[in-house]
Amino acid sequence: MTPPLLTVEGLRTHFFTRAGVVKAVDDVSFTLARGEVMGLVGESGSGKSITGYSIMGLVDPPGRVVAGSIRLDGRELTTLDPESMRKLRGNRVAMIFQDPMMTLNPVLRIDRQMTEAILAHDDVGERVALGRARDALERVGIPSPDERLKAWPHQFSGGMRQRVAIAIALLNEPDLIIADEPTTALDVTIQGQILHEVQKLARETGTALVWITHDLSVVAGLADRVCVMYAGRIVEQGTTAQVLDTPAHPYTQGLLDSVPSRNARGARLKQIPGMTPSLIGLAPGCAFRERCARADADCAETPAMSVDGNDPGRGVRCHHPIVPWTQPPR
């Protein structure tokens, strides 16, 4: 078996605010193989975006990675000096953001915003960089790329801007792209196109994807594997089929139930009772227990990630999983 492209182990990213320490990411571990697509699912504030920023080394103060290890191709990123990290960003690991209206700088032309990403990493001439930028635009399906290179961001529609952002992410053919809800701000038809496009491009170039989203239907069509996050922790992981068809964590079940479906037309949508807990001064124990029907006294103790004995990729962080669980061999 080839070594994984990305290994995240025991990652903790905390924000030191005046009100207290916010444990935005609290003991997150996962691995990602080359070319694999992983969905990172969770509600707002579950820590999924911060996990992405931690990998990119883009956590802003007062936030800080306080513990854990992030290894890309065997190279430890958490202890890397800023300049080496900069060389990695946009080159080996790229990121796409949620709101395409905000990610492109409004006062710089597209060609400049694209070539600077190449020139920051490769010692090539302006002309070569421009050619590569043009090709990248063509690859993401932007018509007449030569003209579009000379356009300003405000002359593009939202979907087109996100294509430009994706083209920028692809410029240096990275090993990994972290996509932070890139289709959330787009309307559904454009969302479908972008999803299709990214899937195709990732497959063609062998780029691995971490797709951060709160939308389970997006994950269903796109990801090979899924991690579900809640209050800074991964509560369930497995292949997309495992997690969506036989969820083990009550939270995952709750998420699935709250998706409107055709089969239950007219029926009242189920919702998860209560609200996401504040991450400031979160008490030990399962963070979901206040909202969970299966919770009992055991849940006051923080559950560990328990990996399926037969399948190391399948795991749940729950004392009372819904599906029968094969305990790992001791």
Binding site: G90, N91, Q98, N105
Partner: protein
């Protein structure tokens, strides 16, 4: 673009006419210049003659029409006091004021933008806080007092710098300038920073808040995610966005510096337009007052036009079209 400039010029003419009417009526209301100009011992006949010579025996509207007729041909009347062309007097004093205002603006830009950027990048550091505290002083200390203190310290106590006048000037294309001689620079060394002080503080605050706002934007994070160096993220992505409001304010403030250099010019006896205006108001020298204000309004209009054009160069979303204006 051309249409924009033409339409803006037409609007400017309306502003200038309205301005001249207001000043005319205003100065008329203040008092009768004859009372000041004529020797109190003069008899009635001399008095009548002087009034007729200055055209003050005519009704106000007729005086205004006479002025307007002259203004169209570029003649803004003759000074009551100096008996020379009012515009000529002002143009003669203009280089001194422009030089002072230009030096002050340069100081404000060179100090204000970098300091503001620094304070914006390090809002919690001691350096950032010190800069902000200093900017409050710059805002709140009155210009005339700072001017007096500068003279006290550097001219009277230390004796390093001269306290009044322009010093030696050199003619450049027929315009006398102090900036080009050592003595002239020494004479500028106190009044220019004095006039700049408020604008340094203003630019620091403006740049700082712009930087703090821009740093939170997604495009800054995206730029960093592209692997750009910190220098490029700040110097290109952040600065380009901050410059849009800063350029507008610099333009407006430059007009204000020219118009309100009066205080600094009075304190340092700088022979500029501001001092001329004060003298003219004291003597109710209406042609000079009117001409001065028209010149200032024209300058403001020209600066605003320049800012608008510059603005469209900085912000691609603003295009000077027939529709948008």
């Amino acid at each position: 673009m051309l249409v924009f400039v033409i339409r803006r010029s037409l609007q400017s003419v309306v502003v200038l006419v309205a301005m001249s009417v207001i000043v005319f009526v205003g100065v008329y209301a203040i008092g009768n210049p004859i009372d000041i100009l004529i020797n109190p011992q003069a008899d009635q006949i001399d008095r009548e003659r002087a009034i007729a010579a200055l055209g003050l025996d005519r009704p106000l509207w007729e005086q205004y029409l006479t002025f307007l007729r002259g203004a169209v041909t570029g003649d803004l009347g003759r000074s009551f006091v100096h008996s020379t062309s009012a515009l000529g007097l002002i143009v003669e004093k203009m280089p001194a004021t422009l030089e002072l205002a230009f030096s002050a603006m340069l100081i404000a830009i060179v100090l204000g933008i970098p300091l503001g950027l620094w304070a914006g990048l390090k809002p919690d550091a001691l350096s950032g806080r010190t800069i902000m505290a200093g900017s409050i002083l710059g805002f709140s200390l009155p210009t005339f007092w700072v001017g007096l203190m500068l003279i006290m310290v550097f001219s009277v106590m230390l004796g390093w710098l001269p306290s009044n006048g322009r010093g030696t000037t050199v003619d450049l294309f027929g315009v006398p300038l102090s900036l080009l001689t050592v003595d002239g620079l020494a004479h500028l060394a106190l009044p220019a920073p004095n006039l700049a002080l408020f604008n340094v503080a203003l630019l620091i605050r403006l740049t700082r808040s712009g930087a703090r706002e821009a740093l939170l934007q997604d495009y800054v994070k995206f730029a960093r995610a592209k692997g750009l160096s910190n220098r490029r993220v700040i110097g290109v992505h952040v600065l380009r966005n901050i410059l849009i409001p800063v350029v507008t304010v610099i333009g407006l403030q430059f007009g204000a510096l020219i118009a309100f250099a009066i205080v600094t010019e009075s304190v340092f006896a700088w022979p500029g337009m501001g001092k001329l205006l004060i003298d003219s108001i004291n003597l109710l020298d209406r042609p000079v007052i009117v001409a001065y204000l028209l010149v200032i309004v024209t300058l403001f209009i020209a600066i605003n036009l320049a800012v608008d054009i510059l603005y469209s160069a900085l912000d691609p979303r603003v295009r000077l079209s027939e529709g948008g204006g």
